[in-house]
């Protein structure tokens, strides 16, 4: 690499004239970044040239940019207030981020992606490794910037962090041409807070509407609360608990809202919707006042739209994003605000109350429609593995789940007695998310146990990150629920696509223990229930990442489930 261009720019103090690359790195430090997941290439080599000069920035060399994007996402999701950072080079490097950005976008995760771009003079000429990254990512980021002048680098990075973390969070991409990484200019980090006339801060909750909600709660005979990821993002878990206890309102949640409410609480329902608990769906369908907080109410929640909450007289929606209000269901009362702020202001207006009959009814449904599994054949059941795992979680381990059956099982068996972190790609349903994201979660929470639950299909999609995990001794405990098929798709084919199994057989999945060995990752396998607990204990005792393969019943299914095209009350249960 010819470093001559940079050598001349080395004069440090007093003028603080720095290269664009240095300015970017110093700006990241100013924004509180400590960890960067990234991958180098021709268009971001100036960034990598200067990276070693900033030891306070820990760079993790991932083995695929998608892994980097998910890791940054897992980092941000698991550490409130933090922003995940990922680097990639131009062209293929940047394009490898797309799925990771889409995943973060749909689940409202603050991530900053800094992509190298060809030199400003070469843009538009189809030069080597040039691609239109702004155009390619436009619909999967909250906002994006192409830097065109060296003096814009610091203000752009500052603004990007502001946009990523303000209001409804989301990923922001900065496309950074390589000539500007080398260009020298004065470094002045803008001190004033960012104010953008086109991006106002979220509004304060409307007091009159909150009073109306309090009144509706008072009058409600059959109230239900549903909590989404917005509750977790805003840190409103305790406030939600206080509200529900004050007025004795049962609380259910979305897949992404898992962890927002203590599952063992007497007022807890369970996950709602397509694969939600039968008793939760019943409660929602019978509710007269339904309060949705920090959720989008997508089709996985509503199932067939007109089957959703048919008896509701007052639908209340609290969300920070005005575009979510009325997008899928039209509420009678809505509040656009941060969930925690809204609930804090609502609580004093709410009178203590208890609808005995309603709560008794719900208890009865809970008994009639428990979330359960049955072991008919003596084969290892996925829920048995999860029960062993969760019994070792101390109700505080961070759990990541991938996509498919494993995800739903892990969500339904997550039964913490306090709010907790259950991270998954609920919006895009990105297979291959959990494994790299769990690296990010562990990096952000070195003192916490991090479990990664995944199917073998999703695991192999990003298994290259074993190298990253081993190299950096990122001690994630990975549980592969191996059913030797694309289980969720297999279940759909069996039940909804006329029983024809097509392209779901994964018997050719490699031997994961040997694979772990090849990567230097401690790996174990079993198909026996009595070995599950000891294996988990050994994994937890091991100081480093561990890959556990569990050969489970290949025909284990997810229950309850609402058959495709059916309504909320048409759920089918385990039998």
């Amino acid at each position: 690499m010819a470093a001559t261009a940079a050598r001349t720019d080395q004069t440090p103090e007093p003028a603080r004239r720095l290269t664009g690359a240095q300015i970017a790195l110093e700006s990241l430090i100013r924004e509180g970044t400590e960890t960067i997941f990234g991958y180098p290439g021709g268009a971001n080599l100036w960034l990598y040239r200067y990276l070693p000069e900033y030891p306070q920035l820990r760079h993790i060399l991932v083995r695929h940019e998608q892994g980097g994007a998910h890791a940054a996402d897992g980092f941000a999701r698991s550490k409130r207030g933090s922003v995940g950072v990922v680097f990639a080079t131009s062209g293929p490097g940047a394009l490898n981020l797309v799925t990771g950005l889409a995943t973060a976008y749909l689940d409202s995760v603050p991530v900053i992606a800094i992509t190298g771009q060809v030199a400003t003079t070469a843009i538009g000429t189809d030069s080597f490794q040039e691609s239109d990254v702004i155009g390619s990512t436009m619909s999967v980021v909250k906002h994006s910037y192409l830097i065109t002048r060296a003096e814009d680098i610091a203000p752009t990075i500052k603004e990007a962090f502001h946009v990523a973390r303000t209001g409804r969070p989301g990923p922001v991409l900065i496309d950074f041409p390589k000539d500007l990484q080398a260009a020298v200019t004065e470094f002045n980090y803008p001190e004033e807070p960012i104010r953008l006339r086109s991006f106002p801060p979220p509004p304060r909750p409307d007091a009159a509407r909150l009073r109306r909600i309090a009144q509706l709660i008072r009058e409600a005979k059959r109230p239900v609360i549903l909590a989404g990821r917005g509750v977790i993002i805003s840190g409103a878990e305790e406030t939600l608990l206080e509200l529900s206890h004050k007025a004795n309102i049962p609380v259910g949640w979305t897949l992404l809202g898992t962890g927002a409410y203590p599952v063992t609480d007497p007022l807890a329902l369970q996950m709602v919707g397509f694969m939600g608990a039968g008793y939760t769906n019943k409660a929602v369908c019978d509710a007269d006042v339904l309060i949705m907080i920090g959720m989008r109410c997508d089709d996985r929640v509503t199932t067939k739209l007109d089957s959703f909450a048919p008896r509701v007289e007052h639908l209340i929606h609290i969300d920070i994003d005005p575009a979510e209000i009325g997008k899928n269901v039209v509420p009678h009362v809505s509040v656009v605000a941060d969930a925690d702020t809204a609930l804090r202001e609502l609580i004093p207006m709410v009178e203590p109350k208890r609808e005995h009959e309603w709560l008794t009814q719900i208890d009865q449904w809970r008994e009639e429609h428990p979330v359960r599994f049955l072991n008919h054949n003596g084969l290892l059941q996925p829920q048995e593995v999860l029960e062993e795992m969760y019994s070792r979680s101390q109700d505080e381990a961070i759990v990541l789940a991938d996509v498919g059956q494993n995800q739903i099982w892990a969500a339904l068996w997550f039964r913490y007695s306090r709010p907790g972190l259950f991270l998954n790609s609920g919006g895009t349903g990105t297979m291959g998310y959990a494994f790299p994201a769990s690296m990010g979660a562990k990096m952000a929470n070195p003192d916490k146990t991090v479990f990664c639950v995944t199917g073998e299909g999703g695991f192999v999609m990003n298994m290259q990150e074993m190298a990253t995990m081993v190299e950096n001794n990122i001690a994630v405990k990975v549980l592969v629920l191996n059913n030797r098929s694309l289980g969720m798709v297999r279940q759909f084919q069996d039940d909804f696509y006329e029983g024809v199994r097509s392209a779901v057989d994964l018997s050719f999945t490699p031997d994961l223990v040997k694979l772990g060995d090849a990567f230097g990752m401690k790996a174990m396998t079993t198909d026996k229930l009595e070995e599950v607990g000891p294996m988990l204990d050994a994994a937890l005792a091991h100081d480093g990442p561990v890959l556990m393969n569990f050969d489970i019943d290949p025909l284990a299914n997810v229950y309850p489930i609402v058959p495709l095209g059916k309504g909320m009350l048409d759920f089918v249960e385990a039998e």
Binding site: I134, M138, H143, L196, S198, P201
Partner: protein, 194 residues
């Protein structure tokens, strides 16, 4: 019930903003009837006038999704307000000597202008509402239209006050201030709507 809604959108005058707006509208499945964009009295701001064919609820969704774009400053749904919404039409009409008189009379009724004269054709410029332009095209159709170019609508609401005024940004206050006075009506532009 679908109708054409007219959105008046102020955006930051930055590269790529048209792409962002168009891409959002496409992604959310809204149909654009027309879109015009140009500078305003303020160098840093452009105005887009977007005619979208949507139902009322969809229009609200389109407006909210547009507002979320970081480069969009404000959106005003001016459908049904007393607004002036004008399009520009340039049209090359077959106009041999024998028919010129008649065509020129039509142009006069529509307050159009002849901007180019060639041996057998005229280029005519007409501005006005979509309806007026549609009418004009219909009436000159029999003479033979060689070519036509038509802009999207640009629009402002009638009255003394600016509908949307950009005010100094202060944390916690709205970026926009709508004029309190209801839009004052002037006689509607009915020129040429025969």
């Amino acid at each position: 019930m679908s109708q054409t809604r007219l959105l008046s959108v102020l955006v930051e005058n930055k590269p790529g903003v048209l792409h962002r707006v168009a891409s959002m509208i496409r992604r959310r499945g809204f149909n654009i009837d027309s879109l015009s964009v140009g500078p305003t009295e303020d160098d840093s701001v452009s105005r887009m006038t977007i005619a979208v064919h949507v139902g009322k609820q969809q229009a609200e969704q389109a407006t909210k999704q547009l507002s979320k774009l970081v480069d969009v400053i404000t959106i005003d749904d001016i459908t049904g307000l007393r607004n002036v919404a004008h399009e520009l039409l340039l049209i090359r009409i077959h106009a041999p000597a024998g028919q010129r008189r008649e065509i020129l009379d039509l142009i006069a009724i529509f307050r159009g202008r002849v901007v180019d004269v060639a041996p057998n054709t005229l280029i005519v410029e007409v501005t006005g509402s979509t309806e007026k332009i549609d009418n004009f095209i219909e009436l000159v159709h029999p003479y033979g239209i060689k070519e036509a170019a038509r802009s999207g609508a640009v629009a402002l609401v009638r009255g003394d006050e600016a509908r949307i005024r950009l005010v100094d940004f202060e944390i916690g206050t709205d970026v926009t201030e709508r004029s309190a006075a209801p839009a004052q009506g002037e006689a509607a532009d009915t020129t040429g709507t025969v």
